[in-house]
Symmetry: C2
Subunit: 214 residues, 2 copies
């Protein structure tokens, strides 16, 4: 199970900044920088958004997002996962996630959480090699046992004490693994113009394909 948006420890939260904006003297428009939900906003979504937007800037930075997101074992999301999420949902390329963009991000994470819980058959809180194969299969990727092994080795966490059973893949790394398989498969298929299962590429193309994946 993955808890996603957590309460922040006092170490991270900013105190004394939550001053309710006062209406301008004599009346008039409220200051445009006042902090509150846009008209018609889903109150619950606004609640989540504002709990992540700890500096009350009105948008969520990568740092704020990384601080807010944790896996089921309380580990933080990798910076690479955060950058991937920002890349998908920062559609206006402002470098931050505004409230409108946050709705998409929230749904994406919720959907992945549901998938993660579904594929974590044994309820261990992480995805093992067998569960990974089933998950990728259900998404239409029938990878060889050798490739499944490589993905598991790349994305699983190491045993915390160096021995014992491998702890499997945490939520954020599972999402990244699936997105990487999807991205690489698409890149390969696009390059395989004659659909014979082989591609001919030069160094520049090879490096570009790899370096554009999350």
């Amino acid at each position: 199970m993955s808890s996603l948006f957590t309460r922040h420890s006092s170490r991270h939260s900013h105190h004394g900044q939550n001053i309710t904006p006062q209406p301008p003297y004599g009346g008039g428009f409220a200051p445009s920088r006042s902090y509150g939900p846009p008209p018609g906003a889903d109150p619950m979504l606004w609640q989540w958004f504002s709990s992540v937007d700890t500096d009350r800037s009105g948008s969520i930075s990568a740092t704020e997002l990384q601080r807010a997101l944790v896996n089921g074992n309380w580990s933080n999301f990798d910076l690479d996962t955060i950058k991937m999420l920002m890349g998908i949902f920062d559609t206006d390329r402002s470098g931050t996630i505004g409230f409108a963009e946050f709705a998409g991000l929230w749904k994406y994470i919720s959907d992945w959480q549901e998938a993660f819980r579904r594929f974590d058959r044994d309820g261990s809180g992480s995805i093992d090699q067998r569960e990974l194969a089933q998950a990728l299969h259900s998404y239409g990727y029938n990878l060889s046992p050798s490739l499944i092994g490589l993905i598991e080795a790349k994305y699983a966490s190491p045993p915390s004490d160096g021995y014992g059973p491998p702890p499997g893949i945490t939520f954020d790394r599972f999402v990244r693994a699936c997105v990487v398989v999807k991205t690489l498969t698409k890149l390969f298929q696009d390059a395989d113009t004659d659909r014979d299962g082989w591609i001919q590429i030069n160094y520049e193309q090879f490096m570009s394909m790899v370096l554009t994946t999350p």
Copy 2:
């Protein structure tokens, strides 16, 4: 500048476990589980090793290593960098780093620190796109501006507040970027058996190449 092995906060250290082993009653060999440097060990290296080996198990787990290693901006090393280091230096595949293996790890990190300081020309504590191009050039990789841009985008940290100048690449991600370029280039060259700058590969080979890189 990268501080590497830091003092641990009290939150992480284990108290009350440092009981000096007593010699067996009546004399004899000291218990084999006693905690101390092997004969002839470099005292300074032992000092560093034992400060990382917080549970005094005699070897360093991935978790202990990740806790001990920080970048110049105090961010922890990525799990992917930790796994890469364990993969290189856990030569007996025990899942942990013993003292003999630690000597190699320590030298590797020290050498990379020296390289990082040399390439960080402006002393900013991180590597920008220009410095990255110079670093890779000095290692014999003359990559196109487009590939340098992709590497910078992949490994740089996002601006902490979402705007302002990009903060560049921290130490651990710089090391990983260089190792990834080296690994991918080697894989490409090995596949390019006729040395014409082009490779022909199928999906299985393509995926394997990408998934074996750190």
